[in-house]
Amino acid sequence: MVKQLTSARETILFAAILAILVLVTTRFPGFIAPGNLIDVFNDTSPLIILALGQMAVILTRCIDLSVAANLALTGMIVATLNSVNPDLPIVFIPILAVLIGAALGAINGILVWKLEIPPIVVTLGTMTIFRGIIFVISDGNWINAHEMSPAFTALPRAIFLGLPVLSWFAIVIMVASYVVITRTPLGRAFFAVGGNPHAAVYTGISIGKTQFAAFVLSGALAGLTGYLWVARYAVAYVDIAGGFELEVVAACVIGGISIAGGVGSVGGAILGAIFLGIVKNALPVVNISPFWQLAISGSAIIIAVAFNAQSSRTKGRVILKKAEHAT
C-alpha cells in the first residue's frame, strides 16, 4: 500500500518534469539537446547529493538546516588548505572534505542524541556557528581562482566517459544511497525510527543512535559537496550557498519525503532535486522576467507540498453515520 503510493507519486513527479521540459522546449528548443541536459544534471548534482543526505535525516523525524553552512565551511577549509599547500595530492581533498563534513554532522548528531535538543534548534544554531567559523578562519577574505591549484578546480569538471566528474559523484552517491536505504539494517532503521519510534525501540533500534547516523551521513555528503562547490565555482567566501539549505529541504518535500518522518524514497528525493534543478536552469533561458522567477519557483514548491499533503491524508473511519449527517 505504502509502496504503491510512493511509486505513484514518483510517476506523477516524473510526468511533471517531462511536462516542464516540453513547455521549455517550445520556447527554447536547445534545452533538451543531450549536451544541455547533461549540463543541467551536472548543475543539479550538488542539490541531488545534499537532498539524499537530508532525506536520511528527515526520515528519522529530524531536519538538518546546517547543510549549506557545513558545505561552505568545509569548502573554505579545503580551499584554504589547498591555497596554503598546493602540493597536497588532489585525491586527499575529497576524502578530507567527507571527513570534515562528517565531523560537523556528528556535532549535530551528538546534540540531538545525547542532549535531546530538538533538531531544528540544534541545526539552526550550528548553521550560524559554522558560518561564523568561516568568517573567523578566512578573516572575511575570498579565496579566488588563481589561489587554488589547477588540479583542485579541474577535478569536478574533468570529463570521464562523457560526463563531468561532478555528475559521477552524484551518480555514485545515488546508487550508494539506494543500497543503504533499501538493503541495509541502517536504512530500515531510518524508516522505523521515523515511522513509529515506540515500535522501533521495542525492536531494539536506538532512536538517538539512528538519528546520529543520519546526521553524520548528511554532514559527510554536505562536506563532499563543499569541495565540489568551491572547485566548480572557483571561489570560496563566507556566503557561498547562502539559503541553499531551504532548497535542499524543498527538493526532499517535492520528492514526497514526509516532513513528519518515516515516508520517502531515494527515487523521490532525486526526482525532487532534478525538478528544482530543471526549473532553475530553464527560467534563465526562456526569458521570463527575473521578477517572476522567484514566484514561479516558490509556487512549484507550494503546489508540490499541497499535493503531498492531499495524497498522504488518511481518511478517518466513520463510526456514527447518524452523527455525520447531523453536522
Partner: protein
C-alpha cells in the same frame, strides 16, 4: 532576586564608567557595510582605519550584517544607536528601508552619512558616491565596446532586482548607449549576488543569445561567476566578461582571458573618504548643505549637489598590465 539586581546594576555602572572613559575624547565612527566578509568592504575598512590613524582621536567600529539584507542592517544600526556612536557611515542594502532607523539616529544627534550604496535623502545628511553614476554607467559599456570594434550583442548580469546602485548604473548605461553604435544590449539578468545563481544566469545568457560577445557584470560576485561560466563553456575569446570587480578576485580570470579588462574605484580611498566626511560633519568642521564643499583629507573635497550627494573620483581600469600589482592590495 535583589542580589542579582545588585550585581546587574553594579555591572551596568562599571560598564558605564569604562565606556565613559573610552568616550571622553574619541570620536566613534561606525562603518556599516552591506555584509561582512566581502573583500570590497574589508578594503574600505582598511581605508577607514587609515583615516582614523591620520585623525588620531577616532575609533572605527567596522560592522554589518552577515547577509546582504536591509533587516540585518536595521538591527546593526539599532545596536549602534544604543551604543551612542558619534557617526554612522552606511552602505545601504535598500534605499528606503533604512530611512526610519537612520532618522531615529539623527534625532539622537548622531551624524549619518551614506556611501557607496545610498539611502534616500531624508535618511542621511550626505551621500558619498564612489564615482559619479553617469561616469560608471559610461565606463562599463565603454569597457565592453573597446574590445568590440565591429559592435555586437552584449548582456548585463546584475546583482538583485532591488540593488540600488546596480540599477542606477544600468539606467545610466542605457542613457549613453546611442554613443556606442553597434553595441546591442540584448537583456539584463539577475544573479542575486550568489556565485551559483550568477553562474547559472551567465550560462543561460550564452545559450539564449548565441551571438553574445560580452557580459557586463557591474557586481563583484557576478563578474567572477560569469568569468568562470565563460571559461567552463569554452567561450573564452568569443565572450568577454567585463564590468566592476576586485583585482584580487579577477586576477585569475584576466590571466585566463575570460575577462579583458574591468573597472573599480579604489575601496580603500572610499572608506577613507567616508570616514573623513563623517568626522568633519560630526565635529562641525563642515555643514552638509547643497553646494557646500566638505573636506575629505587626501581625497580633496566633496562638492555636494542639490540632493546633498557628491562623487569621489573616476573609476579605474584594470587589465593584464596592472591587475597583479593591485591583486595583493584588495
Amino acid at each position: 532576586m535583589s542580589v542579582i539586581k545588585n550585581i546587574l546594576s553594579t555591572a551596568a555602572v562599571a560598564a558605564m564608567f569604562t565606556a565613559g572613559a573610552a568616550q571622553a575624547d574619541d570620536i566613534r565612527i561606525a562603518l556599516v557595510v552591506k555584509a561582512l566578509g566581502i573583500g570590497f568592504f574589508e578594503a574600505a575598512a582598511e581605508g577607514a582605519q587609515e583615516a582614523a590613524e591620520e585623525l588620531g582621536n577616532v575609533e572605527i567600529i567596522y560592522t554589518g550584517p552577515t547577509d546582504t539584507t536591509a533587516e540585518g542592517q536595521i538591527e546593526v544600526i539599532n545596536a549602534l544607536i544604543a551604543q551612542r556612536v558619534d557617526a554612522i557611515a552606511v552602505s545601504a542594502n535598500d534605499t528606503d528601508a533604512l530611512v526610519p532607523v537612520l532618522q531615529r539616529a539623527m534625532d539622537r544627534g548622531i551624524t549619518v552619512i551614506s556611501w557607496d550604496s545610498g539611502v534616500a535623502e531624508e535618511g542621511r545628511e550626505l551621500h558619498l558616491n564612489p564615482s559619479s553614476n553617469p561616469l560608471i554607467g559610461n565606463m562599463i559599456v565603454q569597457l565592453a565596446a573597446e574590445h568590440l570594434p565591429d559592435g555586437g550583442d552584449v548582456a548585463v548580469l546584475s546583482a538583485t532586482t532591488t540593488s540600488t546602485n546596480q540599477n542606477i548604473w544600468i539606467e545610466e548605461m542605457t542613457a549613453v548607449l546611442p554613443n556606442y553604435p553597434g553595441i546591442n544590449v540584448v537583456g539584463t539578468v539577475y544573479g542575486n549576488d550568489l556565485a551559483d545563481d550568477s553562474y547559472r544566469e551567465a550560462i543561460g545568457l550564452m545559450q539564449s543569445h548565441p551571438d553574445l560577445r560580452a557580459i557586463i557584470a557591474p557586481t563583484s560576485v557576478g563578474i567572477v561567476a560569469a568569468a568562470q561560466a565563460v571559461a567552463d563553456a569554452g567561450m573564452i575569446g568569443q565572450v568577454n566578461v567585463t564590468g566592476l570587480g576586485l583585482p584580487s578576485e579577477m586576477a585569475g580570470h584576466i590571466d585566463s582571458g575570460a575577462s579583458q579588462s574591468f573597472a573599480i574605484w579604489n575601496p580603500i580611498d572610499l572608506g577613507y573618504a567616508a570616514t573623513m566626511l563623517a568626522y568633519n560633519l560630526s565635529t562641525d568642521v563642515a555643514e552638509a548643505e547643497p553646494g557646500a564643499s566638505v573636506p575629505m583629507g587626501r581625497m580633496g573635497e566633496l562638492v555636494l549637489d542639490e540632493t546633498n550627494s557628491g562623487a569621489m573620483a573616476d573609476p579605474f581600469v584594470y587589465d593584464a598590465s596592472n591587475v597583479h600589482d593591485f591583486a595583493d592590495i584588495f
